[in-house]
């Protein structure tokens, strides 16, 4: 009897969970639906649920010159993430497995830079970029995004490095392994998933970054968020096109995030989950 009520309660909870999830994600579902509409079906009262799907919004987006923005985003995201790993992996190593004396100072410094509001530096960055001829230049974004993600990345990767059992390293040393061998054969296999998780989070934050992109780039080096700003004045007329653009702009990160959700969880909890 109780088992049956339990099961009933269980399936009621399952149904509830599904309803909550679908409601929560509904703006996204509606975005996907709207992106396949003709403009006349997009903004109607009451909303249109039955319509003839079309791909014309996607071709319209491509005609508006979406691809260069996409290419800029991909370039900036990949290179800034590589730069973060290049600088962050050795730093995380120095703060965990071969710790320096001022470890907690260094960690505190890294995290405190994350707490500096980005607005506090935007004016000099704008003036400096202008003087260096770096306005509307992808390299400026690459450097700034690396600076933005590095502190968090060091914290995350450090916690993954701490999971390497010191006995393993010492055993390898006793066997006469040199440092490069230890790094490559012992440490890397343990921390590789952590580095992947960190890279994933850097990719998400770089891809979605808005403030620097809007203020420091324009037509030439603009990333996908900058392309979307073009809809701010015309959104009343082009909902279907806006939805198509929003979908295309988010799709790369959505796919990567969906595939690597478990990495995402590990990365976000800074390696606290085993």
């Amino acid at each position: 009897m109780t088992a049956r009520t339990n099961r009933l309660g269980g399936s009621a909870l399952t149904v509830l969970t599904w309803i909550v999830a679908l409601l929560f994600v509904f703006p996204v579902i509606w975005m996907v639906v709207t992106s396949f509409k003709h403009e006349v079906d997009a903004a109607t009262d009451p909303p249109t649920f039955a319509f003839t799907p079309t791909l014309e919004q996607f071709t319209a987006i491509l005609d508006r010159g979406f691809l260069p923005y996409l290419a800029n985003s991909a370039f900036v995201t990949v290179l800034s993430t590589l730069l973060v790993l290049l600088l962050g992996v050795p730093a995380a190593y120095a703060l965990s497995l071969a710790p320096v004396k001022q470890t907690s100072n260094a960690l505190g410094f890294f995290l405190s830079t994350k707490m500096l509001p980005i607005v506090a530096a935007i004016i000099p960055l704008y003036v400096i970029s202008q003087n260096l001829g770096m306005l509307d230049n992808v390299w400026a974004l690459i450097v700034l995004y690396a600076g933005m993600n590095l502190p968090l990345a060091v914290w995350m990767m450090r916690s993954f490095f701490l999971e390497v059992p010191t006995e393993m390293i010492e055993a390898a040393r006793v066997d006469g392994a040199k440092l490069p061998t230890v790094l490559y054969r012992v440490i890397l296999p343990v921390v590789a998933p952590g580095i992947a998780a960190t890279a994933l989070i850097c990719v998400i934050f770089s891809w979605t970054e808005f403030f620097y992109a809007v203020n420091l780039t324009a037509a030439q080096a603009g990333t996908v968020p900058v392309f979307l700003v073009g809809f701010i004045t015309s959104e009343g007329l082009f909902w279907a096109q806006l939805s198509a653009a929003a979908l295309l702009a988010s799709l790369p990160v959505m796919i990567v995030g969906w595939i690597a959700q478990n990495h995402l969880v590990r990365g976000l909890s800074m390696g606290a989950v085993k």
Binding site: A91, T103, L116, I122, L144, A246, K274
Partner: protein
């Protein structure tokens, strides 16, 4: 940079040599850290120092030649500027409300997900999606398809006619931010829920503790470091909210939904007032640092930083 790592020349008396060796060993340990440290200083600290320098000047970019030092005048202006003070209030409201609401919703969703059921993987995938949508895209979609007074889904679904963005601008912006950040909180809390030991939970049940009792006295305490981390990371990002305000309300109507990042942006890029916007930036940093010192201490306690330092 690598030049620093080289040991000093060796022909020296033994006692100093050991000290020199020690020092060179210390530098060798520090070497992997230095590039990251120098890079971070160059990209984050140097621009901030320049901001401090600008903040003591009267400098408007549309009036060339007007640039000169004015001491603390900009700071006096900032604190007597009623828009700045209301933007400060809005920033605090947005941060506190959004972090708390997103965390409670995230906790609820995580509890729903923390059991076996049909399609659990799909539900989790659906629930993390708002975090993966471009915030700029999310803001524009909420502004149009959800909040639009004539064609928006919200008014249609509830059968009402509300001008969300002009009557409740702050609430509308916060809705979008909460929607964006709830999945983040949910993922972190879910990680915490799944890390708790099943034996302890079962033991509690055997001892006759009800669900609520188990949740309050076993689950919540174990969850606390995850909740702290969620609050800290959420606050760091939500304090800087710009996309939603820029794209949904432009800070309006009037200054009703203007927060500090948006106001500083306006003063700098629409008013071209470098001096005053820099002073605001410095004030924001000073206030953030006060809160942050407190938060950092929490973080260090939660994550036991001394682990790993030998």
């Amino acid at each position: 940079m690598t030049a620093v790592v080289e040991a000093p020349p060796s022909p020296e008396p033994p006692s100093t040599r050991t000290r020199a060796q020690q020092r060179s060993a210390a530098w060798k340990r520090r070497a992997p850290l230095l590039p990251a440290l120098l890079f971070t200083i160059a990209v984050t600290q140097v621009p901030f120092l320049v901001t401090v320098f600008y903040s003591f000047q009267s400098w408007n970019m549309v009036r060339p030649g007007s640039r000169h030092f004015v001491g603390f005048d900009n700071y006096v202006d900032v604190f007597t500027d009623s828009v700045f003070l209301s933007a400060l209030g809005n920033t605090v409201t947005i941060t506190v409300v959004c972090v708390l609401v997103a965390m409670l919703l995230g906790l609820g969703l995580a509890l729903l997900l923390d059991r076996q059921f049909l399609g659990r993987g799909i539900v989790r995938t659906l629930l993390i999606t708002p975090f993966l949508i471009l915030p700029a895209a999310g803001a524009l979609l909420w502004k149009t398809t959800m909040f639009d007074p004539t064609y928006g889904l919200l008014n249609w679904a509830f059968g009402i006619e509300v001008e969300w963005l002009s009557d409740y601008p702050l609430a509308a912006v916060m809705t979008q931010i909460v929607w964006q950040w709830t999945p983040f909180m949910m993922l972190l809390i879910l990680a915490g829920l799944q890390a708790q030991s099943r034996e302890v939970l079962e033991a509690a049940q055997v001892d006759g503790a009800g669900r609520w009792r188990t949740f309050v006295s076993i689950t919540l305490p174990q969850l606390s470091r995850y909740l702290q981390l969620a609050v800290l990371l959420g606050a760091i990002y939500i304090v800087n909210s710009f996309d939603a305000i820029f794209l949904m309300t432009q800070g309006g109507p009037g200054t009703a939904s203007t927060n500090l990042p948006y106001y500083i942006y306006q003063r700098a890029f629409e008013g071209f007032d470098v001096g005053q916007s820099s002073a605001m930036g410095v004030v924001v940093v000073a206030m953030t640092l006060i809160v942050a010192t407190f938060a950092l201490r929490l973080m260090f306690r939660a994550f036991d930083v001394s682990r790993g330092v030998k």
